[in-house]
Symmetry: C2
Subunit: 207 residues, 2 copies
């Protein structure tokens, strides 16, 4: 029989899941969660749609896995920045890295937007979001505390918490702006704005 049944190669579960997750993220960024159809995802991952059901019990589960994957990638990306130097330098490095490509990235902001509904409605995804947010803010708060200590300044825990929240809000907000309007800023302009603003909030210059 001249069956034109599609040839295929067997891959490890891990490789296939990753490919499906990456394809799903691409489509969510481009068209939102609802626009990321199982057929579209399968096509982009070079498999047929049945395979999705083989590795994930539903589209919902794939989307959730993709979100978790993405959020982990985001934290890994910034965790790498600035492990040495003075506290002030590490803080400065964190702000700069967070406001410079590849962290600043239109695709990542598109994903943020595409997932927003889900993170506010689905309890599982809400939890992933909460955890990632807390990770960033706590990391930043620790950097601020260290910089304060180094500078011989003191601040109450409540004050430090407020500073962490405020600095995080500025950085996060600028990150969104930079990804949403990639042509609105010159190279390094976004990071400079961030350093000025965060410095003002903390009460000492980061530039």
């Amino acid at each position: 029989m001249t069956d034109d049944r599609r040839k295929f190669r067997r891959e490890s579960a891990e490789a296939r899941k990753d490919a499906l997750i990456l394809a799903a993220l691409d489509l969510v960024a481009e068209q939102g969660v609802r626009g990321a159809t199982v057929r579209g995802i399968a096509e982009r991952a070079n498999v047929t749609q049945g395979l999705i059901r083989h590795y994930f019990s539903s589209k919902e589960e794939l989307i959730s896995a993709a979100y978790e994957y993405h959020m982990k990638a985001m934290t890994d990306q910034t965790a790498a920045s600035a492990k040495d130097g003075s506290a002030r330098d590490r803080l400065k490095g964190f702000v700069t890295a967070s406001l410079t490509p590849p962290v600043v990235d239109p695709r990542a902001v598109a994903l943020w937007a595409g997932f927003l509904n889900k993170t506010q409605q689905d309890p599982g995804m809400r939890e992933i979001h909460r955890r990632t947010y807390a990770y960033f803010r706590d990391h930043l708060e620790a950097l601020i505390a260290a910089a304060y200590a180094d500078a011989g300044l003191s601040a109450s825990p409540a004050r430090l918490r407020h500073l962490g929240t405020a600095a995080n809000a500025v950085i996060d907000g600028l990150w969104l702006e930079g990804g949403a309007l990639p042509d609105a800023f010159e190279d390094g302009e976004l990071a400079q704005i961030g350093l000025e603003a965060v410095g003002a909030i903390l009460g000492f210059s980061l530039e």
Copy 2:
């Protein structure tokens, strides 16, 4: 005949269009553009789906009209703020209003996210977005220029443009943060962060 055909009242074109637009915005905020189906929109507006086609030539057109409506509402909302007082006070009022409810609003941010794809792909909606963004930035830049003049400071046009872009980025970013994380900030906290950050960028205190 016991025809259970639905009773209805005739309404003006304007009233019906507005009702359909508001219903569409609700659903876009909740479920994104793709989740806002013609049947869902019609139901929320208390009409049947055929009526949408009567007033809009396609779903696409309704969505576009809804986006324009929303963006106009956003500009109207802040245009009202701070028409008198010193330049510095007007600037301060603009920042504060932009970072306080009802301008800061989870639904508005959900709409921002829901429309993001469209504003980056559909040329018509991209233009509406560009215009609204330019309006805000220019408005802010004018306020900054006036405040500089009042304070006896001078700044080149290029410098003013940079300051407008930077201040706008901070405000816009914080606005997104406030709407996305309504419980992360105390009353007035977001506005205070904005005033500190913008003040630092401009080089004089707004507090």
